[in-house]
């Protein structure tokens, strides 16, 4: 149902005429694609719609009032912070109201209690800058420095710095959520006052409703305020240098230093990461895909392909690197001690330190996820797995094997197994697999590969992160549950009985498979006849 004049007037009364529009030109500015995350894929073509109206609230109260108008008048709505997450964060149904939260960019730093408090319009890099000025730091997730901190934390929220600083759900403190019907839910200590210092309770810890493993993509309301835990950092300034595009943070090497090690094997990589975690040293420990090195070296996409085409299956198979970020949190002496421990560990595993630039280009403040699109134009991190440190390296090669069937149109990567690293001082291992393509190619196989990875994970019993709204719920739910999908749908029905908060998530991928003819032959699971149309 289109948004009527009466409903428009009611919404306009909430924010003022300056901050609402149903002009087709304004709405076109919020089209999902064809560029973006999952660039040009079937999901973007089949599932996304230009919004019927856009509204920009400033306060939690305004969000509540907007949502209540929507709920009363059966208007579907989608919360939208920066729009970077591509098709999944854009409307999936006609005439939806897109609630653009960029004006809610409040920021407050509590230096004494080590947290920041932000609105959904606040992105990571300013938070990191302000934290570092006050002796603290946060993880800028792989989503990038341009990501809304709230959206990233209720979705993914990790990076190589998670080796030390921990997983996202451990950093979410007091939080405000406008539930799908407009009711305000306050989590943690915000439930009792205005101090967001504490994240758990009272009663059941409801932060799982926000993110579970990797988020619900706006189908359970809108987070309007969140306190995020920060951790102590060292005091020296990380000085920005260079002119764009070649900018970097110059590192004070007595307190912050990256060292790249070449090690003899994958086993040596894992052993090194485990020992580094056990020794409780380092701010980050990671192994990245070989093609990221080509991205870093190339000045343009053509040069990337020059560099990358020199690699082959053998060079990729024999690429064993461990990148370690040392941070002298407390003193130069601590840094020196950590470096000696690190060198002992590397000596034991046969690691050799390589010359490493005394700068950080892509993790501490920038987190350059946008550059991932440079060489092909189409990109998605098709899956992430958090396993044990010894299990997670097996995940990437299984993907690489499956990917061969779909290459082309996927980028030739010579079997690169992707990215893996240590989380929480080696307590977990993390693996992420990334795929790239040219969106002008026939991309249907990319859609098929995506679902095929889910089947592969089920077969191999990998506990994948991309469940719920990321894959067909009726494919993954019975296999990971057996009733995980029923539980999720019960939660959805309880809090959003009218399904107005970003419909048809969490069943959007099920609907996509139904709607896309090139996906039909993939469907070997049961689903009800009454999926949303």
């Amino acid at each position: 149902m289109a948004i009527s004049k009466e409903i428009y007037k009611a919404l306009e009364a909430v924010v003022g005429s300056q901050y609402i529009s149903d002009d087709p030109v304004i709405c076109e500015g919020y089209r999902s694609g064809p560029g973006g995350y999952e660039s040009g894929l079937g999901y973007e073509r089949v599932m996304t719609k230009v919004p019927g109206c856009v509204i920009m609230p400033r306060t939690t109260e305004e969000v509540q009032r907007i949502v209540k108008v929507c709920y009363r008048n059966d208007v579907p709505y989608v919360p939208y912070s920066t729009g970077f997450y591509g098709s999944r964060s854009h409307p999936h149904v006609e005439d939806a109201l897109l609630i653009d939260l960029k004006r809610m960019n409040d920021f407050k730093l509590d230096e004494k209690h080590f947290y920041v408090e932000v609105g959904p319009g606040m992105i990571y890099s300013p938070i990191q800058e302000e934290c570092m000025k006050h002796g603290a730091y946060v993880v800028i997730g792989g989503g990038g420095a341009q990501a809304s901190a709230i959206a990233n934390l209720i979705g993914d929220g990790w990076s190589p710095l998670s080796h030390r600083i921990g997983l996202p759900h451990r950093r979410i403190l007091g939080t405000e959520v406008v539930m799908p019907d407009g009711e305000l839910l306050k989590l943690g200590s915000l439930a009792e006052g205005d101090d967001p210092f504490w994240g758990e309770g009272p009663g059941p810890d409801l932060r799982g409703l926000l993110r579970g493993y990797t988020g619900l993509r706006g189908c359970l309301g809108i987070v309007t305020r969140m306190a995020i835990k920060t951790l102590p950092f060292q005091p020296e300034r990380l000085e920005p240098t260079g002119i764009s595009p070649n900018t970097a943070l110059a590192l004070p090497e007595k307190r912050v230093k990256w060292i790249n090690f070449v090690v003899p094997s994958k086993d040596a990589q894992v052993q090194a990461m485990r020992e580094i975690g056990h020794a409780e040293i380092a701010g980050a420990v990671t192994k990245v895909p070989l093609f990221w090195r080509a991205i870093a070296k190339a000045e343009c996409k053509e040069e990337f392909w020059d560099l990358w085409s020199k690699e082959n299956e053998e060079t990729v198979a024999n690429f064993f690197i461990v990148r370690v970020l040392l941070i002298g949190y407390t003193s130069e002496e601590q840094m020196e001690y950590d470096e000696r421990v690190l060198m002992d560990i590397m000596s034991e595993v046969g690691g050799i330190a390589r010359r490493t630039k005394p700068s950080d280009e892509s993790w501490i403040k920038n987190a350059d996820s946008a550059g991932m699109w440079l060489m092909c134009g189409g990109y998605v991190s098709v899956d992430y797995v958090i396993e044990t440190l010894s299990q997670s390296p097996d995940h990437g090669p299984s993907y690489a094997d499956l990917k061969r069937k779909y290459t082309p149109p996927l980028m030739p990567d010579y079997g690169d197994p992707g990215w893996f690293q240590s989380f929480e001082l080696g307590h977990q291992g993390y693996s992420e697999f990334l795929v790239y393509w040219d969106q002008d190619d026939d991309t249907n196989p990319v859609d098929q590969f995506y679902v095929d990875t889910s089947k592969m994970n089920i077969k191999n019993r990998f506990y994948t992160s991309l469940l719920g709204p990321h894959q067909p719920l009726y494919l993954t739910g019975p296999q990971y549950g057996p009733n995980y999908h029923e539980f999720l749908l019960k939660v959805k029905n309880e809090f959003d009985p009218k399904w107005k908060s970003h419909p048809p998530v969490p069943l959007a991928h099920d609907v996509f498979v139904e709607r896309a003819p090139w996906m039909h032959h993939m469907k070997d699971w049961e689903s009800p006849d009454d999926l949303p149309k």
């Binding site: 076109e28 300013p126 699109w373 440079l374 134009g377 040219d438």
Partner: protein
């Protein structure tokens, strides 16, 4: 398993040119935007904190995504494909933009898309479609056509700015192109420039009949009119036989160095003469010992990077090629990224002046926030222009600067007006005035 038959890597190469008269040349760029908003955020490495996070005046002022480059790319793509038509909002989205290049250098950090050229091509398309430019722009174009200057002023008064005691040469290796604003409105800039040239012992000439550079007509999409002006002005300069054309206006500088070659489909190197800004000239003379900054200027001073002398100033080279697999182009394209190292020169000059305490604003160099005056904005959207200047002056206040210096009369005027209206208690000067005052000491 995937059906192998339709799967291919090979994609027929699509021919394209960096030619803004056909928006279809930029459909690839407009369709590849991923909304990372690198066009809007300050380069994250330089991100100054929760204040002053963005560098796009349009996106900051109007806030809807449509007004950021990420929205304009979607709108432009839809228009190029015939899915969306013009309306009043579309014209505002397109023209309430200073084409300051912040989006372009931001994108070229991440994706190398031709955002700036796409925006210029969309303005040309608006004119081709009969909906652009806006009435205020048409009045400017009319003034230029009739009186050869922006202001509709008598052309015979154009050289009245010349100070006593300075007589331009009839023939010289250096030609000073004063531009409309320094000739008619901010004569102190032209006068200071002439005095600096004289102090350095550089004989200079003026154009026998100087006309407007055409910045506004080019910027609002009047391509044919801009091309005619470019051809006329270049022919005039070539006839003088000068080796160097010097400007003291960043907008004139950009036109001569970048946009004249662009509209005439030649390289900057093929102009037949060198185009330099006063800042480049003084930097060279200062470092070779010809000019000395003597008289102190006791002030806490900050420098505003005028867009035309900063991220928009890379030289132009025509390009025609093919785009194939993964969007790679052949032959290789040297992207214009606004990183040609011009940023240091004005700072080196200002730091050489005794007594100057040069302090940087949170957003500097390629991340600078445009003053808001240029490319047709001041004429059609004066409120927006004043808002942008006031917003920039907030940064001046933030760092406690007493003096704001730029290298462009457009910046000077816009800042001065905003300051006068109460945005900040700050002295606004052009760099030519500051240099002149110091060397005369």
């Amino acid at each position: 398993m995937a059906d192998p038959s339709p799967v291919r890597y090979y994609k027929p190469a699509a021919e394209f040119k960096l030619d803004i008269t056909d928006v279809k040349n930029f459909v690839y760029d407009m369709s590849r935007c991923i909304k990372c908003k690198g066009c809007t955020w300050v380069d994250h490495t330089y991100m100054p904190g929760p204040k002053f996070m963005t560098r796009c005046p349009s996106a900051a002022k109007y806030e809807f995504d449509a007004y950021g480059a990420y929205g304009k790319m979607r709108i432009g793509h839809a228009m190029a494909e015939g899915r969306l038509g013009w309306n009043e909002t579309a014209l505002e989205v397109l023209y309430a933009c200073t084409l300051c290049g912040a989006c372009d250098v931001g994108c070229k950090r991440n994706l190398d898309l031709e955002v700036g050229l796409s925006l210029e091509a969309l303005r040309v398309k608006a004119v081709q479609d009969g909906v652009g430019p806006l009435p205020a722009h048409k009045r400017i174009a009319e003034s230029i056509a009739q009186k050869h200057n922006l202001y509709g002023a008598p052309s015979e008064k154009r050289t009245e700015w010349l100070p006593q005691g300075i007589t331009p040469a009839q023939k010289a290796e250096v030609l000073y192109f004063a531009g409309c604003t320094a000739s008619y409105v901010n004569r102190e800039i032209a006068q200071s420039t002439a005095k600096i040239l004289q102090a350095a012992g550089t004989a200079f000439m003026l154009m026998p009949d100087e006309w407007c550079c055409g910045n506004t007509v080019f910027s609002v999409g009047l391509f044919d009119e801009a091309k005619a002006l470019a051809q006329r002005n270049i022919d005039q300069v070539r006839q003088t036989g000068v080796k160097t054309l010097l400007t003291s206006c960043a907008e004139c500088y950009r036109m001569w160095k970048v946009d004249y070659p662009k509209v005439l489909n030649i390289s900057t190197a093929d102009l037949g003469f060198q185009v330099i800004h006063l800042v480049e000239y003084v930097d060279e003379k200062m470092k070779s010992g010809v000019l000395k900054m003597k008289k102190p200027l006791e002030t806490r001073l900050t420098y505003h990077d005028s867009c035309g002398l900063a991220r928009l100033s890379d030289p132009w080279t025509p390009y025609e090629g093919k785009r194939g697999w993964m969007g790679c182009v052949e032959p290789r394209l040297t992207r214009r990224r606004g990183n040609q190292e011009i940023y240091a020169k004005p700072r080196d000059i200002l730091k050489a002046i005794p007594g100057v305490n040069l302090v940087e604003m949170p957003r500097t160099r390629e991340n600078a926030f445009c003053c808001g005056a240029g490319r047709g904005v001041r004429e059609a959207f004066p409120d927006f222009a004043e808002w942008a200047a006031s917003h920039r002056l907030d940064e001046v206040k933030e760092i406690g600067a007493e003096t704001l210096v730029s290298s462009c009369p457009w910046c000077k005027n816009n800042f001065a007006q905003a300051a006068k209206a109460g945005a900040a208690d700050v002295q606004v000067l052009d760099i030519s005035e500051v240099i002149c005052a110091s060397i005369e000491g």
